[in-house]
Amino acid sequence: MSVDKDTVKKIARLARIAVPEDQTETLAGELNGILNWIAELEQVDTEGVPPLASVTGHPLPLRADQVTDGEQPESVLANAPEQASSFFVVPKVVE
């Protein structure tokens, strides 16, 4: 498993992080360094071992079906970079 420039571009696009063309090579190298180091895990025999689902071990708590929150658009929008008529506003989306 090794990361090339195209993979860097692909994951950067997935993560919505712009990587300038001249940095893809460096970044690919760095990521490969980390991935090679991580690859040590391949040595571990995990046959039949379930992945750890939770360290605490208690089951998922359920809450009662009651309206206890909301009706506070001012708080929701308080830190909005752009808003209008209580809507968040973003550049036009084309579907």
Partner: protein
């Protein structure tokens, strides 16, 4: 599963259509799936929104118990496997109305596994449609694109509302079957009360996967048309997709696996313009949540409390009441209808009540644009009207007038009959007098009849009934006329 009746003819030969559906059903609950904000439809922009729904830093999800129960109840209604351990995963993608940057959903371990739905078609055939899974997930917010020339407006009121995604197997073979499937699913959800089935408000919407192939060939490449919110649109979208795909294939082209949008104005589908990241959603178990563990006792309890479902009621209607399977299907599509029918027909002629409901009542409601719940004629009133026909108090024809009056005024059948003097005349003396008068006035026709013109009998019946103002007991008129004429 190749079924000759469902093949679609192309220029070069027949094609088989393969359809699978992913239905998103909004769960009936007070609050959202992972936050305490209201799940109600509507509200001012960003009103039904908690800081969890807006994905503020450090906000965490806590699951709503009622939504879990609704999912289990629905699973039971779909005769499906209930998974006692299920896991919530994050489905990662960026979108303006998805503040977390991921949707909490269930991927590898859904709460409900395999089940099935039976659909009945107009031609009398029944089909078992496989359900692959049902899982719980969050709805996204809403983007409004028509408020500003260069901006989209985001409202998070829907963000985080609980949805059940119900995935069918690719067992559907025509638009008709797909329509029957969604109607049946909607019906089951409404019986259970886990989804209100309101397609206009988007409480129930479908993504339709369509592909075509030559009979017996391996599955073709499919397209997914998203967010269809009416049975008509589902039908139209499938029909359009089928024709489009057949044309492409016959022109030597290839179908591209893609997501398409349906234009409700033109009835056509088109590819989505926005680029997708090859569906690399990077699912992984949501570390803010733990595995959802259900006790079998809870599942059993919910199963015990489940209402009777349409298939069970329908079986009872055909087997015990002797209704046709068509009538039974019509009467069970909505739970309210079935309840109305049970109440109206209790202690009455079941078939007669069914006829009255499917013809007179539904006709009148349809004409008046009313729902059954708003019917001016209640089930008991209808039952009593039918009883009056059964016991000969009024004729079927008169009953129709009485029904019209009841529908108009909301009055009681007995009272209308009394006031208008519509009671059937079964007094043999009175009927005999009418017959004598009719025969006397038409001596020439009496002679013709006796001379062999049997067909004139109907004429005499009509005249007598007319003379009685329609109130004479038609059976007695028949019998007595015959006796007189043949004497």
């Amino acid at each position: 599963m190749s079924d000759k009746a469902n093949l679609v003819a192309g220029r070069s030969g027949p094609f088989e259509v393969v359809i699978g559906m992913e239905v998103h059903a909004q769960v009936v609950s007070e609050a959202k799936l992972f936050s305490g904000a209201s799940a109600k439809f509507g509200g001012g922009p960003n009103a039904h929104v908690s800081l969890v729904d807006a994905a503020m830093p450090g906000m965490l999800p806590v699951i709503n118990e009622a939504c879990v129960r609704q999912a289990v109840r629905t699973g039971l209604g779909l005769n499906a496997q209930i998974n006692l351990v299920s896991v919530f995963d994050r489905k990662n993608y960026f979108y303006a109305d998805l503040p977390q940057g991921y949707q909490i959903s269930q991927f590898q371990q859904p709460i409900v596994g395999e089940g099935s739905i039976r659909i009945d078609l107009a031609d009398g055939s029944s089909h078992e449609i496989g359900i692959e899974r049902l899982h719980l997930e969050q709805d996204a917010g809403k983007s409004l694109h028509d408020q500003h020339p260069t901006k989209s407006y985001i409202d998070l009121n829907r963000s985080g509302v609980a949805l059940m995604e119900i995935v069918s197997r690719p067992d559907l073979r025509s638009a008709e079957q797909a329509a029957a499937y969604i109607k049946k699913l909607r019906s089951i959800l409404r019986y259970i009360g886990s989804c209100d089935g309101n397609m206009e408000e988007g409480s129930l919407r479908a993504d339709v996967n369509v592909s075509v192939r030559r009979p017996g060939a391996p599955l073709g490449t499919r397209t997914e048309t998203k967010n269809l919110n009416s049975v008509r649109f589902i039908t139209q979208a499938i029909e359009y997709e089928v024709q489009r795909q057949i044309e492409i294939i016959e022109d030597g082209g290839e179908i591209i696996q893609e997501t398409r949008l349906f234009d409700t104005q033109t009835g056509m589908t088109r590819a989505m313009r926005s680029k997708e990241d090859a569906h690399d959603y990077r699912y992984f178990p949501d570390p803010d949540l733990l595995p959802l563990v259900l006790e079998q006792a809870l599942v059993d309890e919910l199963a015990g409390q489940l209402p009777e479902l349409p298939d069970q009621i329908r079986a009872r209607m055909t087997e015990e009441y002797g209704l046709s399977s068509y009538d039974a299907a019509v009467l069970t599509e909505e739970r309210e209808t079935a309840l109305y029918y049970e109440q109206a027909s209790s202690g009455q002629d079941r078939k007669l009540v069914a006829n009255w409901m499917t013809s007179e009542l539904f006709g009148a409601l349809n004409k008046a644009g009313l729902d059954l719940s708003a019917s001016p004629v209640g089930p008991e009133q209808l039952g009593r009207l039918v009883a009056l026909v059964s016991d000969g108090t009024i004729s079927g024809r008169i009953a129709k007038d009485v029904f019209a009056e009841m529908f108009e005024s909301g009055g009681e059948p007995e009272q209308i009959i009394e006031e208008k003097g519509l009671k059937q005349v079964s007094d043999s003396g009175a009927i005999e007098a009418l017959i004598d008068q009719v025969l006397a006035d038409n001596q020439d026709k009496v002679d013709d009849y006796r001379g062999g013109k049997d067909k004139l009998f109907g004429f005499f019946v009509g005249q007598v009934m007319k003379a009685s103002g329609g109130q004479a007991n038609p059976g007695m008129v028949n019998q007595m006329l015959k006796a007189k004429l043949d004497a």
